[in-house]
Point group: C2
Amino acid sequence: MHTEQQLIQRIARSLPCAPGAERVPIGLGDDAAAIALSRGANIVVSCDAFIEGTHFLADGPADSAGYKALVRAASDLAAMGARPEFFLLSLALPNAHTGRWLSGFLHGMGRAARQLKMSVIGGDTTRGRIIAVNVTVLGEAAFGDLVTRSGARPGDGIYVSGRLGGAKLALELIRRGLGNRRRFGRILRPYLYPTIRGQLGEWLGQNHVASAMMDISDGISTDLARLCLASGVGARVWGESIPCVEISPRIAAQMPGLRLNPLKMALHGGDDYELLFTIPPERKDKLRDSPEFSELTQVGEITPGQDVLISDGDGNFRSLKARGWDPFRKG
Amino acid sequence: MHTEQQLIQRIARSLPCAPGAERVPIGLGDDAAAIALSRGANIVVSCDAFIEGTHFLADGPADSAGYKALVRAASDLAAMGARPEFFLLSLALPNAHTGRWLSGFLHGMGRAARQLKMSVIGGDTTRGRIIAVNVTVLGEAAFGDLVTRSGARPGDGIYVSGRLGGAKLALELIRRGLGNRRRFGRILRPYLYPTIRGQLGEWLGQNHVASAMMDISDGISTDLARLCLASGVGARVWGESIPCVEISPRIAAQMPGLRLNPLKMALHGGDDYELLFTIPPERKDKLRDSPEFSELTQVGEITPGQDVLISDGDGNFRSLKARGWDPFRKG
């Protein structure tokens, strides 16, 4: 058994990595890579695999697969403070999925592309025994405006956008066969048609407000640990301040016998694509001018050391285990 | 049933395409796309899917899979006259392939990367029911030095590098269970560890010698038809001048009962990664200064109209059907 992190380390050890900060200011290990081109131009690039059986089900809504494949890749650029402009679509398909399924997929992806104002510029199409999608996204950005994972410092506040756990709740509904019910549309949306925080990410980068940033794609317990590792810091998370998904009594009644714990969903549920970022104390006031300010919540602070802790309601801190989504972990 | 070309057309119709030649001088439909960045810089980018069961076998040599996945993606940039510098590796793997198989794969890919002087700058790693690889390659190039598929004009000579059909011959050996025999190593190499014509491609671009260019990844019968379609021209191919793979009596004896036709292998066999390019008559003399000149062969000429014809030994021309590799065609 391997974790995704271990695999990435093996790849980094086995392959020639970027030739130096002059040419590749941001390489392996962040949400996206930045290449410094001639004459001071910079391109930011990232790719995201989206695989049948791992990220989506072949018998699920095809337009959701297309929508989400693009949005989640674009989120990696937003999480650097860069605007995603272009994408390449690599698509392996069984013959049985080249008809209606593909039409739905392209319909969903086209909708996402128009919303994000992105254009397809290339790709590859081939046959495969399962559906395997890869989306590569690119955007131009000034290097100085990019926000990496590694800039958090002790004393910085930790913030998240939106509410966490919504995609996980939707997934639980879908797993229980409630995914097709029209009346749950609003609740299913965060999983099927997630939105990303592009405007907020760009603002935080261009105004040099955030010291570190990433998107919460695998659950904050896992992603905050990654940010802390990259920055060489620890964190204290205020458990009671985490903005959790709201579970109405009507929804809870649909899943009797299941203990739905909003905090656990918020901490460990993946697929939220909200932003996780840190702000130095002296820049905290600037945050009021940000887009979507009312949807931002401080959930803790960066500490020296390397422990990532979370408080319970009584003010006691315990270790926050990284229990977010890892494709290589079972269960 | 769909051909790959039809799928690409559906994608182009369904998704917002590049916003215009000013920002994306080369978009969908060529070997790679070019983005014009600020201050006159250009980036060239392409991606290539490499899927278990379609492009390689999971029980074949893992280091060949890694080597080839990178080389064939890099070939798309060489075929534009651009130098591939960076790549992103997207890798979906079954748990059973995260150990020894992955080590072999990375070993092969690392070897290719060092040979090509390329660096990995990012990627994605996830689980999948089959092995699904996508490699995105990037390089910087002056837009004026890039050679597209669409610049061929009537009267231009048609050239290829190297010999064609070698990968197809190797594949036939492998299919007959002769793929592991040490004494066939040299013959298997074009399929397992193909080389690309990076130096030649760059020279043809930088010296503005070629009017159109692409790599022969799916067989010249299919790829020349694509080049002609993109350029709005036809072609006459001199069948007797095609540089075909040589099949020694020793090899032929290994495959009794099989009629090995070197010309058919050269015309329709895929995976060769040689360059196919056109040269206007007035630039023909410049070609003598090219690297690997002795390995270049003129195989025909571009004509008005849209017919792609091939001559037999008696000087009669018949239609050259595109019978190269199409992942969506059976057989």
